[in-house]
Symmetry: C2
Subunit: 205 residues, 2 copies
């Protein structure tokens, strides 16, 4: 504990941890406090592993240049997997949706992550999403079906409708995941069974 | 990305973050995933600040040698504060209970953190707690009241009863926080009003 500034920063170490934890989704002041005290009571190695895991994930994870999902190698695990069915592309809004569908084990094709959904309120149109790159992936004729798996809410439906209109003229089948998911439901929080069923019962658009 | 081992460790960076987040109290698999994706989407600076706050808190926070609460200077903020009433010591189980009582603003004395409660099931007796150090603090006659603020559950009551018997022969007043808190309730989660009232309405033991 050297000079005054350092000492002052030390003194607020707990408050800074509470502030940073409070920025995380779903973590209110009471949860932040429980977690902070857990870390204070935990052995130093557990706290160090958590800090390192946070730093590592930011260091090594980047966007796959093909599908825009998260990747740690040059390509993401799905794009790099020679065993996947390259005739299908499932289009989702966010990388976390890829994880949700992968967990079902019911889908063996490729993905394309838009990086969001069309939302005029937030000034997000097709140009702000990876739509151009999706169209480019359909050029060589290998893809025979595009499955639109955006959320079943207003923006998700708007985005699916826009993509269906853009893709069908290219002679590629366009399907939409079935509304086996609760209407207004968030893909990320769907149970695996419902999500698997919704994938199976997808309909043409 | 050098050798294979490093590459393999990189590939599991997200899984390791999910594992570490899942160890935190109140964080299930879905919450861990929400937080991990939030960190992936957040700017690198936010993630770095959280990791640093975790490391800092472990580096600078230690136990106050007088009261065994958390301290960043040599003594904790309460023990170091010349403005506190040194005739009162409030005895709590854990450092987080000090924070809960400080938040009420209703108490201006000192604290003593036991570091747990008496629990025969877990083989924790008075010797495993900072009881000896509490008794030593009462030797110089400056303390006139010890307020027992352990939780109002079985272990908390057992601990309070044990301490009352040990302290009363020393000629010091012993009081117990009022059961204005819900019976079986956890001090840490009490609202500030109830906790302030429970402190005010403390009874002699």
């Amino acid at each position: 504990m050297g000079n005054g500034a350092h000492l002052d920063s030390d003194r607020h170490a707990l408050q800074r941890l509470l502030d940073e934890l409070g920025r995380l989704p779903g973590i209110g002041p009471k949860s932040a406090q429980r977690i902070a005290y857990h870390l204070l009571e935990a052995d130093a190695e557990e706290a160090r592993r958590l800090a390192q895991a946070i730093l590592d994930v930011k260091r090594v994870v980047h966007f796959c240049p093909v599908c825009f999902s998260y990747a740690t190698d040059e390509l993401c695990e799905v794009c790099a997997d020679a065993g996947r069915d390259r005739s299908q592309i499932c289009v989702v809004a966010e990388p976390r949706d890829v994880t949700a569908i992968e967990r079902t084990g019911a889908y063996h094709g490729l993905y394309h992550v838009l990086g969001g959904v069309i939302s005029p309120m937030d000034k997000i149109g097709p140009e702000q999403l990876h739509v151009r790159e999706l169209i480019a992936r359909l050029a060589d004729g290998e893809v025979r079906e595009v499955i639109l798996a955006t959320n079943l809410d207003v923006e998700g439906e708007t985005t699916a409708t826009y993509l269906a209109r853009a893709i069908k003229p290219l002679g590629v089948d366009v399907t939409r995941i079935a509304s086996g998911l609760p209407i207004g439901g968030d893909l990320e929080y769907a149970d695996e069974g419902s999500l698997a069923r919704a994938m199976e019962a997808r309909r043409g658009m």
